[in-house]
């Protein structure tokens, strides 16, 4: 029996994104968001709600529960600065998601996830438990990430009107229009680069409506 308040049709199309939010990762995140929207899916991200009264982990758990699909990028586990501890958030949230699938009531066992890494077999040194899951390697290249994610969407849910090359070019058109519109509106390059992820998702959805 499905949990209360779970919207099943939206559950099937929601994709929980678990990834770093630093500036270095931003090009990959944008390519990921665009690919999911262009494939007809709905990215869900922790920063979509800015309620400081809600704990981050509670937000994450709710997003995981509402999302039939998820993408976990564990390629940035290393410390931001030498001497710092590794970043554990991404593997932690991957664990929450896998646990939800394993132990949750229907339809949670139907959840599917994609794990992204930079290079093949690097994760095996530190996270061998996830061997056997669907893991793709983007080499820190957004164009490659687009192809990986598109392939997974086709394999997992059968969606995929456009091939990876076309999605990459459509991504270029979308961010190009964003930059041009921002320039017309008096924005700077920094405004374009620092557009928050929820705003970017809204923009991409608008663009997709006009460019199906």
């Amino acid at each position: 029996m499905a949990p209360d308040n779970l919207d099943i049709p939206r559950f099937c199309g929601n994709v929980f994104i678990n990834c770093p939010f630093d500036a270095d990762y931003r090009p990959l995140l944008r390519a990921l968001i665009f690919t999911l929207v262009d494939c007809g899916l709905s990215p869900r991200i922790a920063t979509e709600r800015a309620d400081s009264g809600e704990s981050r982990v509670d937000k994450i758990k709710e997003l995981i529960r509402q999302s039939g699909l998820s993408v976990h990028d564990i390629s940035r586990m290393e410390p931001l600065k030498p001497g710092d501890l590794p970043r554990f958030n991404m593997p932690f949230e991957l664990g929450l998601d896998l646990g939800c699938r394993e132990f949750g009531p229907e339809p949670l066992p139907a959840k599917r996830c994609l794990i992204l890494e930079t290079e093949p077999y690097r994760y095996q040194k530190v996270l061998s438990d996830i061997s056997g899951n669907d893991i793709k390697h983007h080499r820190s290249d957004p164009e490659t990430l687009v192809r990986c994610v598109r392939a997974w969407v086709v394999e997992t849910v059968g969606l995929g009107r456009y091939n990876g090359t076309v999605i990459w070019r459509r991504f270029g058109e979308c961010v190009g229009i964003l930059a041009a519109a921002m320039a017309e509106a008096g924005g700077t390059g920094q405004d374009v680069e620092e557009m928050p992820a929820p705003e970017f998702i809204r923009f991409v959805r608008e663009w997709k409506l006009a460019n199906p």
């Binding site: 290249d141 190009g176 700077t188 460019n211």
Partner: protein
Amino acid sequence: MAAQDERRVAVYREAMKLMRSAGSTRDRYHVISHGDRWAVVREGAQRAYRVFDRKADAVARAKSLAAAARGRYVIVHRKDGGVEMIVGMSAGKGGDIVKG
């Protein structure tokens, strides 16, 4: 909200309005990475006009195509897909993104 944040929110809203009214145009050209090479793509086309080994050559060809299309512009992308510059957009607004 800090003044900088207010300004940025206003810019985003204005940009969204402009994007809705602009629609798509087939007279914008993009120079975008294609593996290790660079493609010139007319906006809305699924196939590239041509793929070049050198980015500079792709940019030059895109500029000549845009000039022939009378007044539209070229969007040059970085390797990560972001916008490096917009060439040929009318002067006035544009901040640091637009180049003449």
